[in-house]
């Protein structure tokens, strides 16, 4: 590694630790606050180290707000979006990768359009359409809206990954008597597990972060609120119980951080496959 000779390893290490300290401080602060007494939060100077952790904040949160309902709604939406987007994107990405299709270029245009569409614009026609379909006040409206934004880019990521898989694998399977659809499920998908993992992570993160669609389509029925809607409602105009808000934020972030820790290693590879053309 000739290019790395001049940089001192300890210098790199120290810089990385410093950067991690700065960028992760907000997350640390969230955890610390969620474990503090509300009276401590209004004291100067602030405490930087945990001291007498208050686990009661979490039960207080559950007692005061329907956090479990918000959580389940977010989870239902995320799973539905994941299944819907992955199914459609896998098929489309495979078709784009393996067939010379007329109109394949238009898919590129769709991807780009979906990247450019302002969410606040698209909710207006969506509102009209969903109302005609009777979907306003149903979680499906949020699912469909999210999938719209996710499918194009997911297709692009998966297509990039499928391109790296040699066609010979599938040809061998066909020769052995496997049907063309069978090859997708038995050969292509198992081989592209890392690509699927990266795409799933992308879907899950986007779905879990959605605020606009939930804010527009289900805000009026509180039983359908998602985590993000609930948390934003906790941030009050004048007085905010920050320890409760931070406890809710922490619990809302845990699933996504868990999924992220588990699937992150595939992310760089997955994006590299998609973007390096």
């Amino acid at each position: 590694m000739a290019k790395r000779k001049n940089l001192k390893p300890w210098g790199v290490g120290a810089t990385v630790i410093a950067i991690c300290g700065v960028v992760l401080f907000p997350i640390y602060w969230m955890i610390l606050t969620s474990l503090s007494k509300s009276t401590e939060l209004r004291s100067y100077p602030p405490r930087f180290l945990p001291h007498d952790p208050q686990w009661g904040t979490f039960s207080e949160l559950l007692a005061a707000h329907p956090f479990d309902v918000w959580f389940m709604n977010s989870l239902k939406i995320a799973i539905a979006v994941l299944v819907l987007s992955l199914t459609i994107s896998v098929l489309a990405a495979y078709a784009l990768s393996r067939f010379r299709l007329k109109g394949g270029q238009s898919m590129g245009l769709f991807i780009l359009t979906a990247k450019m569409l302002p969410g606040t614009l698209i909710i207006i026609p969506f509102f009209v359409i969903f109302r005609q379909m009777g979907l306003i006040g149903s979680l499906w409206s949020v699912v469909i809206a999210q999938a719209t934004m996710i499918i194009p880019f997911a297709t692009w990521m998966l297509k990039g990954y499928f391109d790296t898989i040699p066609v010979e694998l599938e040809q061998a399977a066909i020769v052995d008597g496997c049907s063309p659809i069978g090859t997708i499920f038995r050969i292509v998908l198992p081989v592209s597990a890392p690509g699927l993992a990266a795409t799933s992570l992308y879907c899950f993160v986007l779905s879990w972060s959605d605020f606009l669609f939930a804010r527009t389509f289900v805000v009026t029925s509180e039983s359908l609120w998602t985590l993000n809607l609930g948390i934003s409602s906790l941030k009050g105009e004048w007085i905010t119980d920050w320890n409760i808000v931070m406890a809710a934020s922490l619990m809302a972030s845990l699933p996504i951080i868990a999924v992220f820790l588990f699937l992150e290693r595939y992310m760089v590879g997955g994006l590299a496959a998609g973007s390096e053309k």
């Binding site: 590694m1 000739a2 290019k3 790395r4 790199v12 990385v16 960028v23 992760l24 907000p26 602060w29 606050t33 209004r42 100077p45 602030p46 199914t87 078709a95 067939f99 299709l101 270029q105 898919m107 590129g108 245009l109 769709f110 359009t113 979906a114 990247k115 450019m116 569409l117 606040t120 698209i122 909710i123 207006i124 509102f127 359409i129 005609q132 719209t148 499918i151 297509k159 049907s179 972060s209 605020f211 985590l227 993000n228 948390i231 941030k235 808000v245 931070m246 809302a252 972030s253 996504i256 999924v259 992220f260 820790l261 760089v268 590879g269 994006l271 590299a272 973007s275 390096e276 053309k277």
Partner: protein, 297 residues
């Protein structure tokens, strides 16, 4: 049943597989865009939307181009874009370069550096809102103790501070994605180019300038445009943090669109703002068009 394995019918399978995606895209991207353009040319309020047509009028666009509000929002959006895009790009690139070095625990460091990407936007906002709290926030405390300011900053009520607090959250949320994209780009630079440069006696800065930068320029360009598009369209961060205030200092075009539609119920005006935003985004991403079309088809 058609036998898809025969060469005669094989291409049909391709169209069959892509059909769901194309139908869905047509129904939920193309049709809504047309509908938005249609709505933007009608003077329509929420109660009537979709039920019966109002006559064609350019009133919404007239209002748009004569109101100071639109130009304010445009200016806010452009400033956000330059500030957030520039800072996040520099910081993301620095992180990517560091993480591309070989050191112990590199994959763990990569995980930590891009962790903010996974934090939901609303959660990121409430964390920062708490840290930036004007009376008890830790940010003010740090600035006061280090002597950088002499009295606490009112992040929520001072227009300039509110703008920079939005920037802070956006940079924190936005740089990890840039870092991942750039890291993927760095890893695809052939090692031979570095070796050749070393043989020619180039030092580390010369190698950076003559090998890394030229190789990375296209990816850097894509990253900037993607970040810009994100800043242009982002809703949750600004809405939850400041709702576009105080006095419109953080009211981007996206916030203005939402305010007109689901707060003032002027759907026609909102659609007009949205259509203009879409056109601006399209112009902005013109550079990406051929690249995407090539990589997909």
């Amino acid at each position: 049943m058609i036998d898809f394995s025969s060469p005669r019918h094989r291409h049909k399978l391709g169209y069959l597989l892509i059909a769901p995606a194309l139908i869905m895209m047509a129904l939920i991207i193309v049709y809504p865009i047309l509908l938005s353009v249609d709505i933007s040319f009608q003077d329509v309020k929420i109660a009537r939307i979709g039920s019966d047509r109002k006559p064609f009028s350019i009133e919404n666009y007239e209002w748009l181009f004569t109101s100071g509000e639109f130009y304010n929002s445009l200016w806010v959006t452009v400033r956000l874009l330059l500030f957030v895009g520039g800072t996040a790009l520099i910081f993301g690139f620095a992180c990517a370069l560091l993480l591309n070095e070989k050191f112990k625990g590199r994959s763990f460091a990569r995980l930590l550096v891009i962790l903010p990407w996974a934090v939901p936007e609303v959660v990121a906002v409430v964390i920062w809102a708490w840290m930036l709290d004007s009376s008890f926030g830790v940010f003010n405390w740090i600035l006061l103790t280090t002597g950088m300011i002499s009295e606490p900053i009112a992040f929520a009520s001072d227009p300039t501070s509110a703008f920079f607090s939005v920037c802070l959250v956006m940079i924190w949320k936005g740089y990890p994605f840039i870092c991942i994209m750039l890291l993927a780009g760095l890893q695809s630079i052939p090692e031979e180019q570095y070796q050749a440069a070393s043989v020619d006696g180039a030092n580390v800065f010369q190698r950076f300038w003559h090998v890394t930068i030229p190789n990375m320029l296209p990816v850097l360009g894509v990253c900037f445009v993607m970040t810009a598009l994100w800043v242009f369209r982002d809703f949750a961060i600004i809405f939850v943090l400041t709702e576009g205030g105080p006095v419109g200092s953080t009211k981007s075009l996206a916030i203005m669109t939402f305010e007109q539609s689901f707060q003032f119920f002027r759907m026609g005006r909102a659609a007009a703002v949205g259509v203009i935003t879409l056109i601006l985004c399209a112009i902005l991403s013109r550079a990406l068009v051929s690249r995407f079309a090539k990589s997909v088809a």
